[in-house]
């Protein structure tokens, strides 16, 4: 996490630390919907290394795998997802 004024950094979640949740491999994209909801896409994480979408708690750094792109039970398989966006972003924004 970067301070918006100074650029100083603090580690929010170490994807190599299993105490914080499922391990990551190559996190390549991040979107923060609000201060409480951060999503990270990893192109090689997940049960079959086909990629995974993580939800990260910014307060604790704890991670959960929201969508495992190797898991057919969650839908079509993926292969190295590289980017993400949140569809409701502007809908929520415009309601404010």
């Amino acid at each position: 996490m970067l301070d918006p004024d100074t650029g100083s950094r603090a580690v929010l979640s170490d994807f190599g630390n299993s105490a914080l949740g499922s391990l990551g491999s190559d996190p390549v994209g991040v979107v923060a919907l609000d201060p409480l909801t951060v999503f990270v896409i990893d192109q090689n994480a997940g049960s079959g290394q086909l990629g995974a979408l993580f939800r990260v708690d910014p307060a604790t750094g704890l991670r959960i795998v929201l969508s495992d792109f190797s898991a057919a039970a969650q839908g079509s398989l993926g292969a190295q997802p590289v980017a993400l966006a949140v569809e409701s972003f502007w809908q929520d924004f415009n309601r404010r």
């Binding site: 650029g7 950094r9 603090a10 991040v30 923060a32 969508s67 502007w90």
Partner: protein, 210 residues
């Protein structure tokens, strides 16, 4: 492939298959995605289009139908870009796109893309040292609460560990904002590749491979 993922369950559905011509112009190597203020999905591809230089698509969020908005190989739409990489839409609907190999000496270039015509305008040439630190591998961008661009570069900064540059979008001037090789600014980073700004708190998140 563009997936829609349920934020509640993680279930995935294919929204748009870039290899399916029935959904519109074909795409190749989608690399960035953003949501336009009208609800459309914007996807930037690294390949495809004229000269295989990449295309910015508008995609209907319900049907998945694609329309090419800006062909980065089409000089009639502005400066030709060799390798697209990042995409951002501002609250005002402004579309910013990044080309990691464009500009002077292929150091990268930041564009504004007109949301209707797809015309590209250069905002900052990352190879122009007179405008600030030059780029090496710029990969992603966002905009801060003050309307300044933030560009994350994998290989600039102290010992080439990566950094975030801040860009004045009116002048193109850049300053090094967070140097991931500089301990005085906090924990060291390495090859940061993604960046986002939290809408309500202005906090900035960046992530990287290591």
């Amino acid at each position: 492939m563009l997936f829609a993922v349920s934020a509640a369950t993680g279930a995935r559905t294919v929204l748009s298959d870039f290899g399916n011509a029935a959904s519109g112009a074909l795409g190749d190597s989608p690399i960035a995605v953003a949501i336009a203020t009208n609800g459309e999905v914007l996807v930037l591809t690294d390949r495809g289009g004229t000269g295989d230089r990449g295309v910015l698509f508008r995609i209907n969020a319900t049907t998945g139908m694609r329309t090419a908005l800006s062909d980065f190989g089409n000089a009639a739409q502005g400066v030709v870009g060799p390798s697209t990489s990042g995409l951002h839409v501002s609250a005002a609907g402004e579309i910013l796109a990044l080309d990691s190999d464009g500009g002077t000496d292929g150091r990268g270039e930041l564009y504004r893309v007109h949301p209707v015509t797809g015309m590209r305008t250069v905002l900052s040439d990352l190879g122009n040292a007179a405008a600030g630190p030059i780029g090496v591998r710029p990969e992603d961008l966002t905009m801060d609460a003050a309307g300044r661009g933030l560009i994350v570069d994998l290989d600039i900064g102290t010992t080439a560990r990566g950094a975030v540059s801040r860009v004045d979008l009116a002048t193109g001037a850049r300053v090094l904002f967070s140097d991931f090789g500089l301990p005085a600014q906090g924990a060291l980073g390495l090859t940061p590749i993604g960046i986002t700004v939290v809408r309500d708190s202005d906090a900035i998140f960046a992530n990287g491979f290591e």
